[in-house]
Point group: C2
Chain length 427, copies 2
């Protein structure tokens, strides 16, 4: 009887999980990807789903399709649609729940934990219940439906106060997600929705961006941060700095300094924390729910377990890496290489983040990019942003369709996916 090949289980098919799987295609190991969704979601474009610019299907790539696209060498990869509930580190089993509630115990020899992150509202009163979030395809579609419904409601509302309330939108958080969402919302409302609702008089400004710090885009060079603010304001966004939200209610967002922003829609983009499953594993956590990793990305006390992506606390130049896609991709690849080294009897290497830079888009022809030591903005930054996002979007067809949507947006200021999905299609 043949001894079984070593088994590698990857929890999570986000950036870290998918790039790790690619690294492990063709290896002398059976590799199993587990995710609660059957598709990899391209998170950086969720805000475009929420603002009716691209179809939700076009920023999602079915995991089995990603595996197929790797060709014959990926014959050692498989996928399981299930929700991970815990890990038995002693017996080396991933404990998961299948879609019909059945319990699955999936054995591993090497484990890569990359379950990602969830929204962090830092205990702000009412934020979990009343604020929209933007951490999954479903949440993005829910926000899109809500924005479009607000306009449909306002078009026929008799009560002027209610109408005004539904046409005010607050975004909490001045990081890349908040900046990109606020800019895209302002453009949606000044473009496609203005043409859809010619009889509706909009409040000005109707989008407010609240940031607790003293500037937008923390971590970006100062010149870019100032540019981002100026561009957002030019789009009609009311940017408020040093605005610390104390409470969110159906009436709006309320600040610690007593000021009120009345709005029927509050979107919370002000923080992320490690996926709660990490808390059930008995591993040492950072205060934000990330798992503390060794410099090799191995878990403390479990050398056969690796961490990558948003769940993984690792440092660069003495500071924790931001929970963005580039660190996740590099960590996923490095963790997979660590597993390959263990398979060959070598020790895993220390992870070193290669900081290629960071970018965010604000609106049409307006973006900010730091590339190594160089900073630039405006049209060249925007074109680079487009190219990089298309390149990392998985699937030729998705790229084609997203590009077509962007062209419609660019040339016609059109947002084509103005569709309110109705009942629960999901059972």
């Amino acid at each position: 009887m043949q001894k079984h090949k070593p088994r590698v289980v990857i929890v999570g098919a986000g950036f870290a999980g998918v790039f790790a799987a690619r690294e492990l295609a063709g290896a002398e190991a059976e590799v199993l990807l587990i995710d609660r969704n059957n598709a990899h979601t391209f998170f950086p474009l969720l805000y475009q789903v929420a603002t009716a610019a691209v179809e939700s299907e076009h920023i999602a790539a079915p995991v089995r399709g990603i595996i197929r696209d790797m060709g014959k060498r990926a014959a050692n990869l498989d996928f399981c649609l299930a929700e991970v509930r815990g890990v038995d580190f002693e017996k080396r089993l991933v404990l998961a729940q299948g879609q019909e509630g059945e319990s699955l115990a999936l054995p591993y020899d090497y484990l890569l934990l990359a379950p990602g992150s969830v929204t962090n509202t830092f205990g702000v009163n009412g934020a979990d219940e009343h604020a929209f979030s933007l951490k999954s395809l479903e949440e993005a579609v829910r926000l899109r439906n809500h924005i479009l419904r607000s306009f449909e409601f306002a078009a026929w509302a008799v009560d002027a106060g209610k109408r005004q309330h539904r046409l005010c939108f607050v975004v909490v958080g001045g990081g890349p997600t908040g900046v990109e969402l606020a800019g895209a919302m302002a453009e949606l409302m000044a473009g496609a929705l203005k043409r859809d609702f010619p009889r509706l008089v909009l409040a000005s400004p109707c989008v407010t961006l609240l940031e607790a710090g003293d500037g937008l885009l923390p971590g970006f060079p100062d010149a870019l941060r100032a540019y981002a603010r100026q561009k957002l304001e030019a789009l009609g966004v009311d940017v408020r700095l040093l605005a610390q939200v104390e409470r969110v209610s159906p009436a709006g967002a309320f600040l610690k300094d007593g000021s009120e922003f009345l709005a029927a829609t509050v979107v919370w983009t002000a923080g992320v924390k490690g996926e709660p499953v990490a808390g059930r594993l008995g591993l040492a956590l950072a205060p934000n729910g990330q798992v503390l990793a060794r410099p090799t990305l191995q878990a403390e006390a479990h050398p056969e377990v690796f961490l990558a992506g948003d769940i993984c606390r690792t440092e660069h130049a003495g500071r924790p890496l931001p929970m963005f896609a580039p660190p996740a991709i590099q960590e996923g690849r490095h963790a997979a290489q660590g597993i390959l080294r263990l398979l060959r009897g070598q020790e895993p290497l220390v992870f070193r983040y290669v900081d290629k830079g960071m970018m965010a888009t604000i609106g049409k022809k307006a973006a900010v990019v730091r590339l190594g030591r160089f900073s630039f903005q405006g049209l060249p930054a925007w074109l680079l942003w487009l190219a990089v996002h298309l390149a990392y979007l998985i699937g030729f067809r998705n790229r084609l369709f997203v590009l077509a949507n962007w062209a419609a947006d660019y040339f016609l200021s059109e947002r084509c996916v103005r569709l309110i999905s109705r009942r629960n299609p999901l059972e």
Copy 2:
């Protein structure tokens, strides 16, 4: 003070409502379209959404976008997102419920009722509860999710009986919808899903089509009906004629003759009936819930009220017209012209259906077409089917994207939208 322009209200933005609105663009009347969805759905391609061939967004066109695309002459058209609950014929008010539950009373001088149809299970035991239906975007997405989930479940199911049960699919009804769905399901499973699940051994046949009559596609010429059956069987579909379903349960479909078709998925396409709202209006109904219309498409006793589409019972050559798109389009146009005649003080004309023919597709390069007196099948019929469906699909962008999806399907046997949507994104 100026007397207000005559007000026309159109209930329903399906084929009848949208084509009526186009006819009324630029008329000396204020025209209001009401629908519970903010988009017109292209029903003939719902089966392709259910089989992961096209995105749900691509067969839906936002009503406000349709109005905008008519240009400046459509300045007299408006839209209201609401669910119609009844009509006060005396006060000439359409009574509707807005999205927040608010009551709306929308005044009209002329009314066009085109609310469409719903699935008719004819009281078959368990069919309403346990069978899938295909009468809305949401139902199509729900069926797609279910088919894909069945395969994901089967891939990891330990119990061989359960696995087999999840991989058996029954379609009830041998009309165009049933034939097109069964063919598309068989192709999906033999193509994209076979490649997605290389380790899964499928039952053969895994798709069964049950038709109560003695042949598929009632109403089509006999040669085409025989061809459709032969082609479906070549695709691996188990076609059963004279199969009268007595009961549907989670276990499968059970026939009057005692035979059983065990399957976790039963799709009911065997009948439609008028939208239930018609029953609350106090108008004379046909047994299938359609409203009996005068030959001019006016409602009996209410000359200012017109009927069009699936809700309208009208005859052609002594038989009721089928509840398909072509009669709906012609009726919608005719009813709008009737309203225009009344506006000019003329009497509405009698509606005469121009029977251009009928068509259905079975699979790649296989369709049946009756064009006037001519019948043909195979590749030419399939190409004509593609051209006609693209032409009637609303929106240049939708046409482009659907064509791209069809090309992927044709050249690569690929079904690109293999996405399981997860939680309720709809509130």
